[in-house]
Symmetry: C3
Subunit: 142 residues, 3 copies
């Protein structure tokens, strides 16, 4: 049983933004030398998330617009009121969306490849950018 | 450390539909011979999802009605506009719901059984049917 | 390859409530003696869920208020109508939110520690309390 962990950075440029990180994740899995097992993709943040969906920047705008409609950035949040003195903590919407979208996904690895479908990409979802973010990849297997 | 992967098909009959796949998943886990470890249930699609909840077809209608209310099939989506020439790609709602519900779940396996609660079933959620779909099961353990 | 499973109880006091279970999860992981691998946190219930976010009781109120706005406790649910004779089954909202938030999370363990970020805590989300609940922890690794 082998373990391999690595991480990479993602620089977001907008308040809410989707960034395809499939290539970076695949590089870590290749570097791990692990052929069969699981990879856990983990965002160590409470205001960003991970999803798996299509690489289509138009769709990404739809996803972000829907998230913003369901959990608006501006609303009467207690978290924001408590931290009303700091611009950086006006982000309850991002915390709430993280609880829905989740900061992680566990992927099956077979013969050195992620068992993903043709249209699936690993998407980093920035919910409170722009920020420099970290994505951790933890691979367990043989 | 052993690995076992298999898949099975699911034929959906409606645009949005919930289908209980617990028995099919249990069969794969039994066939794997793995007694302790994890099973990853993975839908290699971007417009279908996996949840774990009660086997109650009435509840399933409530779940689908709520999803449809939160992320309506008909709305002004960029993804749909871009592909306005094809009926098959009027499915931004399904992509967005997949980002929320997720295409996968990782289950603990102990003594050859999924450690699920009495009322928990594994539910395949079709968001853009009817289609013939695939559910992958990847088991790692001993 | 080692396996260790344990569980602990959580007593909720309100209909919807967030309870930080990070310390209890950490205790199980320490007790397991497993230094590298994965831990699966599993709620064997269909009306409670698990998230990973900040330990901020004000934020928790924002999260619960948003969930209640998106999927109201009182609405015309088939599940509730079918079980109209029992107060205990007026909980379709909780089932639906469980499908969105999920009853589980898989965490990476490295050098005996969960690879979580500084602001991340493991949050048990009660959606249909008050109830005595179980949280299962299943650790696989070496």
């Amino acid at each position: 049983m082998k373990f391999y962990s690595s991480e990479f950075s993602v620089q977001s440029r907008r308040r809410m933004e989707i960034i395809d990180v499939t290539d970076s994740v695949n590089e870590v899995i290749k570097r791990s030398g692990i052929k069969n097992g699981f990879a856990n993709i983990w965002v160590p943040h409470t205001t960003a998330a991970i999803a798996v969906n299509e690489h289509d920047p138009d769709l990404w705008e739809d996803i972000l617009a829907t998230m913003d409609r369901l959990v608006p950035q501006k609303s009467s949040y207690r978290h924001n009121a408590k931290y009303s003195w700091t611009h950086g903590e006006q982000n309850a919407h991002a915390h709430i969306l993280n609880c829905l979208i989740k900061p992680c996904v566990t992927l099956p690895i077979k013969d050195g490849q992620i068992l993903m479908g043709l249209w699936q990409s690993i998407l980093f979802i920035e919910l409170d950018g722009p920020r420099l973010r970290t994505v951790q990849v933890y691979v367990v297997g043989e």
